[in-house]
Amino acid sequence: MVRRPMMAKRRRHLVAVKRVGMLVGVLSITVGAGATSTSAATSHSTVKDISTKGLKTGWIYDGSVADKGYDEEWYDAQLYLEKHLGITATFTQNTPYTSQWTTTGERMADAGAKILYDPGDGGSLFFAACKAEPKVACIESNGVLPFPKNVVSLYDENWLPAYLEGMAAGLLSKTGVIGFLAAFSNTPAPVNETLNALLLGCQATHPGCKALVDVVTSWYTPPKETEDANALVDAGATVLGSTENDPIAIEVAQKRHIWGLGSWGNGVSSGPTAFVTSQIINWAPSLMTLTEQVADGTFHGGRIEVFGFGPGLKLAPWGPKVPKSVQEKVNTAYSQMLKGKNFFCGPIYDTSGKLRVPKGKCLTTMYIYDGWNWYVQGVKISK
């Protein structure tokens, strides 16, 4: 009843890409130059692999598939797979993070599903179902090793767009004070990586840039987020970022006439003049490859796939009010990233001033994804 503060998992709000547009996007995929991109998902729509036809699958969503965000993006991928690979899909929405998650997976497997997709990121609840049904292939998001042999985890390098957003913030902000709504304190992915990347990006363009962090203790509590975001603005923030499900940061930024960074989707509609930029994720290419692997018998689990900029991850179009000079500076870095440049290199200090990454060393993708359990210098957080 009362919302379990942390329960509603983030529903990453991506822009509601029109299905047609998405189709075009997938069809026109070219192999990106991301650091660890997925295996290329080329021209599947023309191949029409017979082996996937009639493959039974189950999809477990934590929220609504019409949420104009994260779940809808996954749902679009589901529809795409149904149409182009001929799979049949059953799915549940608003699944709570309880034993129900496990039971749902098991029920789907009982009903003959060969693949379970876990867009809602049930974590160990989902793994329990996968352990109970070892013959079923499991595809989930945002997991951490080790996990069962039949599970593959998919994730995007969301710290890359975050770094770019941070750069823009540093250029746009006069004072160099970013307000940040963190869902939880010290959660490597996505809170720490997003926050740290944002701040590093900001410091790259605005030396001395700092981040006031408010821990919301939930992924989604609009009233509290609004009040928290306003408090951050009152405390002096001139740019707002967040890891929350919703675009509250942009809304508040719009109302308070400052800049707002997107978290999980194109937030331009939430704040036309405040919006800077955001990340946009597309799951279909990776999912198609994995699904075909199941059909071919080449699927092997127990691994993580993290994809960077490319067919699955893009930077959203710039907000209409972002000055061209800012866009150009950040776009330069964007293209460097696309070419493979690592921006997460030393010297990086933590909040206590200790040198964590010496000059010349760089953070690896997996460290950023899984191990970044400290905050960089400039983060102001209660706990």
Binding site: H13, S64, A231, L232, D246, K380
Partner: protein, 308 residues
């Protein structure tokens, strides 16, 4: 920077839905009806308020419809069993809460995360909006904030100094004496004030969702309906004291954010507990005051058996 002024204004805004809901509940309790389900009413008001605002792009209309929805909702789910059928009062209150929770989600499922673009009219108090600090403290709020502030004074005046108010207090004190002795239409007025309770509760929810938050979200109230109940008890059924209670909790709500934003060395979870612990605390403080017994309406929460 005028940090204090900004926090003050934020606390007032956060306290406003509490104050509205508490005023409605106080009126309901004045006629002897203890409705513990304001939370559900607020949710219904919030979701209808947002839905109407999104469709009409008119926040004022949204607030109005939200208030009406709250009234209708409470009439059906509370007045019907309690006033018409004479059931006990607590359980239907919980029913109102549960139904409000589920129904609001059902209505709002396609409107989640859709921000309301049009805000409510901000009233600039003439004269005051020129004085620098005062302007930010009290000079420029959306109109429901002023309404919420004025309402307890009106209620206090009506209850203390008008014939109608006396009749209402008599209904709450002793419904049998009021009906058989003084000829007051107890059932009618109880029904009317259930509606008023719902009206203000729904309005409070709509204000919270449309103005303070700016969008619908599941369980957007997060216990504020129950906090309003605590505020009513804290007030000792004197409407002017509602203002104190509501703004204290409003300040605590904002203080929790303030601590987070300014990176106080307190875990954010503990800061977030403050409004709820605060509600318990103000009840305890109220209970510690001497001479507290005379306050509650005599028939509050008492089941009225109908016959004949």
């Amino acid at each position: 920077m005028h940090t204090f002024e900004l926090y003050f204004a934020a606390a007032i805004l956060a306290g406003t839905p509490l104050l509205l809901a508490a005023t409605g509940e106080l009126l309901g309790e004045t006629v002897g009806l203890l409705n513990v389900g304001i939370e559900g009413v607020m949710l219904i008001g919030a979701v209808t308020g947002v839905v109407v605002t999104l469709h009409t792009n008119n926040a004022e209309l949204g607030l109005l419809v939200g208030a009406l929805a709250g009234a209708v909702f409470l009439l059906v789910f509370y007045a019907l069993p309690v006033v018409a059928l004479g059931t006990e009062q607590i359980l239907p209150g919980f029913g109102v809460w549960f139904v409000g929770l589920g129904l609001s989600q059902l209505i709002g499922v396609n409107y989640e995360n859709t921000p309301v673009s049009s805000g409510s009219t901000v009233v600039r108090l003439p004269g005051i909006d020129r004085i620098p600090v005062v302007k930010e403290l009290i000079g420029q709020y959306p109109w429901p904030v002023y309404l919420a502030f004025v309402l307890p004074f009106v209620v206090a005046w009506v209850l203390a100094r008008t014939r109608h108010g006396r009749n209402l207090r008599a209904i709450g004190e002793d419904p049998v004496a009021a009906s058989a002795g003084a000829g007051i239409a107890v059932r009618w007025w109880r029904t009317v004030y259930v509606a008023v309770n719902g009206l203000l509760g729904g309005f409070a929810g709509a204000v919270l969702a449309v103005i303070a938050v700016g969008e619908w979200g599941t369980d957007v109230t997060a216990g504020r309906g129950f906090i309003a109940l605590a505020v009513v008890i804290f007030s000792g059924w004197r409407s002017m004291r509602l203002i104190v209670g509501a703004y204290i909790i409003g300040a605590l709500l904002i203080l929790a954010d303030l601590g987070g934003a300014l990176s106080w060395p307190i875990p954010s979870e503990f800061l977030d507990m403050m409004p709820y612990i605060g509600a318990v605390a103000i009840l305890t403080v109220w209970a510690l005051r001497p001479g507290r017994r005379a306050a509650a309406p005599g028939s509050l929460g008492v089941r009225l058996k109908y016959s004949g």
